[in-house]
Symmetry: C2
Subunit: 252 residues, 2 copies
Amino acid sequence: MNQHQQRICTAPHSKVYTHCNDCRLNSICLPLSLEFSDIDKLDSIVQRGKPLQKGDNLYRSGDPFKAIYAIRSGAIKTWSSSRDGEEKVTGFYLPGEVVGLDGPAENIHINSAIALQTTSVCAIPFDRLEALSRQVPGLQRNLLQLLSREINSDQKQFNLLGRTSAEARVASLLLSVSARYERHQLSAQEFTLPMSRSDMANFLGLTLETVSRVFSSLQKRNIVSANRKDIVITEMLALRALTHKNGDETCR
Amino acid sequence: MNQHQQRICTAPHSKVYTHCNDCRLNSICLPLSLEFSDIDKLDSIVQRGKPLQKGDNLYRSGDPFKAIYAIRSGAIKTWSSSRDGEEKVTGFYLPGEVVGLDGPAENIHINSAIALQTTSVCAIPFDRLEALSRQVPGLQRNLLQLLSREINSDQKQFNLLGRTSAEARVASLLLSVSARYERHQLSAQEFTLPMSRSDMANFLGLTLETVSRVFSSLQKRNIVSANRKDIVITEMLALRALTHKNGDETCR
DNA sequence: CGTTATCTTGAACTTCGTCAACCCCGGTGG
DNA sequence: CCACCGGGGTTGACGAAGTTCAAGATAACG
């Protein structure tokens, strides 16, 4: 069905995937229990635009909701700004993850989304996705799972923001990023953070000074080695132990 | 279609609604842009059980996911417990709201849900809801909206938990409960909180002592009058001003 | 090569958590 | 009917963790 699909542009900085079938992320982005023929149907509605540059907006708060976006490479930050001007980072999204799920509620985007680095995404027009998922039961399920998963990951974030130490928060974020990179055959120990200290701090409900201090402390204790955004986790278990609120004595 | 619907039991403590069509909450629970005939279809799959008593579990973490639940009367608290035994209150749900949206992700419930007072719910079996929403486009939309709305309200919670003062958090919760009761023609100024100080504290990422102190302070300043769970908001605007992080000088 | 953004470090201060005592109120049983 | 008990709530004193303010270091960028 519709093999002559739209191919606006391709990502220059990574291997090119122009079909969902070929995409090495397809087990992650829409964790599809779909038949190949169904994947083709999905594939046919996906729009692959040219990559966003660092600082480009994917959408802004108030924009009409047209599509959800699966990230192929790069990183996206989402944030909301309250009426009193405060900005709050609500999430970081890495390859294989989907942004824009704030849209269906009001048919506009509540949050804004911005590229933290050169980023290419697959835009999936939502009305067409809805129509398609009416025909393909597995896809409807996947779509609902996607939203439910976002709810659960948001609620997991509550654990962090409520009453855990600064150290536990930073450790959790590092481990989260590490685990998410690992799913793509990337190293869980060595990676480059896509976001600034200030973004991390905002996301974690801390000040950037505190985040910086935690990094220094972790480095001094040889748990991680951090050079700005370049991270090496040297003591994975110790880092994990720090996430348990009252970092117990086992790993000190 | 199936007029002889299941009617297991009715809520003894409030007016009885045995059909979605009659239910005064129907504009809220599934904010339905549905035709009457569609509402009947939905109505036919809804199961109305006997009310939960205070302390009864609606579901527990790990339970298989069967249904989502629209609250008719009462109040539900949801919480998750992390591996290190810490419990975190993730939400309070009032009449017209829907719990159980953590389920679709893994087909089990991640959180637990418990009744804070005598509570009656409409159970909506999820597989039948999915099937029905494949036939009724408006319903599919509503379902997606429901999940998306949960995402947005969770993310709004981030604003609170990250870097706002204890006072701002308590004020926000009071205003949230107030607004949610108001939608049912109840007073926005006077109401009874369904949850304990300790639940509030946990939800807000504070200690119960701090919450208690904030209440005392609000009372001393004649902004709210609180007798245990009985609340009277006397200065709505002042209370609202407190939610803006740096409670500016306008309302002090 | 200078300018700017990002990050690090230090010192003083603030807020909230911790620990502990106490109070209030409803329920129970003598 | 009152004493006792226990859960939930309030209040106070103290300390720890993180914020704020300020200065300096390092890397990125035109």
